[in-house]
């Protein structure tokens, strides 16, 4: 069965500092990994995804994520946080062999960037 864990309910960083939001996953086959962001009273916005290739994936708004197969992780990172990055972040996984296209979401991590 597929699962996603986001171990931190909340991450607090100061503006200008690097940020990391953690995600680990479990799938029976090869993973298809995503990060989404949700601003208050808004739907989900796609940030980035990993399918194959380079383990470091670059996405929207300066975010990037590193796929680590041995640690089954896909942590979201940004070199310099902005106050406007404050939002709820979701990691999601799909098994590439799953023809149903279902996404399994983590519990979410709230990022607070203080000025």
């Amino acid at each position: 069965a597929q699962s996603v864990a986001q171990p931190e309910d909340q991450v607090n960083v100061a503006e200008g500092n690097p940020l990391t939001v953690k995600c680990t996953y479990s799938v029976s086959g090869n993973p298809y990994l995503f990060w989404y962001v949700q601003y208050p009273n808004r739907g989900l916005q796609f940030l980035l995804k990993y399918i194959t290739g380079d383990n470091l994936v670059k996405g929207s708004y300066g975010f990037e994520a590193e796929f680590n197969k041995s640690q089954t992780s896909f942590h979201l990172k940004k070199p310099s946080a902005l106050v406007s990055d404050s939002a709820l972040y979701f990691c999601a996984v799909r098994d590439l062999m799953d023809s149903s296209y279902k996404l399994i979401f983590g519990s979410g991590t709230r990022l607070l960037v203080r000025p």
């Binding site: 298809y32 995503f34 009273n41 739907g43 996404l103 979401f105 519990s107």
Partner: protein
Amino acid sequence: SAVISQKPSRDICQRGTSLTIQCQVDSQVTMMFWYRQQPGQSLTLIATANQGSEATYESGFVIDKFPISRPNLTFSTLTVSNMSPEDSSIYLCSVEVRLELNTEAFFGQGTRLTVV
């Protein structure tokens, strides 16, 4: 990409009533899904909306409570029936769009439902 329009964006409903949420996509898509996001929680898949046939429901969700229609490849509705306060959630429509090498999921803005 795909632009998804969900209506209503929010509603406050009396317990025991039903609400139908509409999802309109600006292009034809094969895969369409409905998710629920309970307060402070993550997204949970309710069902896959199948065009021309009955929806495929996930464990814990049943057709009598969440009937779904999918009359064509651009439109779907989700009804939340006989509502109780526990149904207060954000309901999101999602579509899977085929890109050149893979597929990508797009989400609507969500419908914030409060049951009183």
